[in-house]
Amino acid sequence: MTTPDRSVEPAPTVLIVDDDPGARLLLGTALEMSGFQVTSAADGAAALASFRAQPVDCIILDVVMPGMNGFETCTALRALPHCHHVPILMQTSLEDMESVNRAYTAGATDFSSKGINPMLLAQRVKFLVRTKRTQDQLVASEARVRYLAYYDPLTALPNRQALKQLLVDQVEWAMLRQSGVATLMLDIDNFSRINDTQGPAAGDAVLKEVANRLQHCLRDCDRSQFDAGAKATAGVIKDCVARTGGDEFGLVLPGVSTAEAADSVARRVQLTLARPLIIGDQEYPLSAAIGISVFPLDAADAEALINNADAAMHHAKKAHVGGMEFFKKSISARAAKRMSLESQLRKAVERQEFVLHYQPRLSLDTLQVEAVEALLRWPHPQRGLVPPDEFIPIAEQSGLIVEIGDWVLREACSQAKRWHDLDTSSWQVAVNVSGVQFRDGSLVRRVEDAIASAGIHPGGIELEFTEGALIEYSSAVSKAVTSLKELGVATALDDFGTGYSSMSYLRHFPVDTLKIDRLFVRDIASRNAGNAPLVDAIIAMAKSLGLATVAEGVETDAQWQYLRDRDADQVQGYLFCKPLSIIDLERWHTDWLLSNQDRGVGAA
């Protein structure tokens, strides 16, 4: 009767519950003959005690017994730990359908009639146990698959997938309770060096130790930060450490809703990691870059939380190579926002979502419009107008500004041509150029192309660039400005006064115009006009160099009067006109001419 698997599987165990000692002996013998290890009980109470002391693979239960009957015993057994899935065979009378039904209701797996050939019954029990074992194996292999899908075998920590799953639940939990959850992403510094020089076994040992230390980092003191509501459901909240990649780990801290609280955990993690790590006779210095994101401050869902923390971690890594890396607060949010804006910006370039608005520059003498400054606007399909100081730095950092700048140039030149052809006005169109556009040395050619394809006179365009660009790309800018001058294109130095404002710079960069920054213009006419002498000096200096001056951000009559008295050349600002779309600008201009006629200043 030996089966091949007998050697690997332990003998199945069975509990016989029957008040009749003859029945116990007969059935017990038959089951022993079939390879079972048999225990028996004479009543329900004894059966429960027996199972509690020693769980079995199968139970055979008589119905009619003194004390608890078989049905009651069956129900009570099912309530025991580990007995939920144990096959229970009830010995009912076959002719009694009602007791068969009651047996199933009480939780029995199968039934048989009493007095059946004991060897047949033993075979039936064997079948039940084998079916159960097959099921168990199936469940176990499913669990194994699940384990492999969600756990890292080296450290036995959850993996990235599991962390994400957990975070989804925790975010939901935090949302319901108006609480928070912090995510820390952590990257071991110089791990590849350990792996490369000491071998993968040392690397694995380091990872296991890091896993171990991180698990010990999550202590009760973190939980003290939970609010009262969170404490009440302490069973739901659980700090979690996961291995999210080769040398990357992630921590999820439910209930941690402030950057400060997350910061203190991050610092403790750093301290724990900094303890000397000795493997074999080798000491390894350990440190990590940590990125943090906090729900709901930095992201609204699990995926964004992980991405933000990842981005912050990479940022931290870049900021300090090697050594101890302190965590950076809210980089995550900035980095993620930046990344998202950058990808939207790319789409905007593809879809040509940009438009130009124009703000007039007026002669201080005649109040005639002499030039218009083209200003880039991004009407985002969902967000509406995105502030330029939000997207332009990203366009510059990503290099997208070159393509966008090219479009601005071409669009501004075409518009200059349209206005020229209308013959009502021959306005110079000023175009802002980023320092980045000077970088590859193609700016002059691009300007030439734009002018040529629009068919305008080069003097119809003025390029504006900032002092910052001038300093950062000085040689490229110097070369470009000289070429542009030769070409006949006008140039202006934007935001003058905010940078170095050095006379010597101006000698190296033969620009035509200085634009006085709005910051200085703002308080020139007030009582404590601290910047007034500076504005006076800029105008005087410009005159001595033969440069024209444009005052930006003119908003009041007093400012206008002041600048007129100092003999500045042009003014630009909300006092006259804000940046407008083409149609609005033309409409404004018509009105402006009429009102100037009324005032008698229009004829120049």
Binding site: D20, P21, G22, A23, P66, K114, P118
Partner: protein, 117 residues
């Protein structure tokens, strides 16, 4: 009532288990535990007091069936059904029980001695 006192196939099944002492032990256990059950049944009938009657009938039926007591088991099954159905102790079949029981016990003792010989 053409049923055999002992269903020999049941005894053969027990013998097939390959434990020579098993039948002797089972008979001993039966004789020991069935007597109080019969006593319970008899006193219930005499005193017209149904307490414990149904349970005793059922247990005696199961034990007797295990040892192949076909005729006794059948009688017990009838008694059990009638008692359950009428909820009373006045069942004519009950009067036939002691004789059937003793007949089965004697048959068992014979089987045991035959086995021991």
């Amino acid at each position: 009532m053409g049923m055999a006192v002992i269903d020999t196939e049941v005894l053969r099944n027990i013998a097939a288990l390959g434990r020579p002492a098993l039948l002797g032990s089972l008979v001993d256990l039966y004789l020991e535990h069935s007597r109080p059950l019969l006593a319970t049944i008899e006193s219930a009938v005499q005193g017209r007091e149904p307490i414990g009657l149904a349970e005793a009938l059922h247990t005696l039926k199961s034990s007797s069936a295990n040892l192949g007591g076909a005729r006794l088991t059948e009688l017990l099954r009838e008694c059990e059904a009638l008692v359950q159905e009428r909820g009373a102790v006045v069942v004519p079949q009950l009067a036939r029980l002691p004789a059937a029981y003793h007949e089965f016990c004697e048959a068992l003792i014979r089987e045991r001695s035959a086995l021991a010989a």
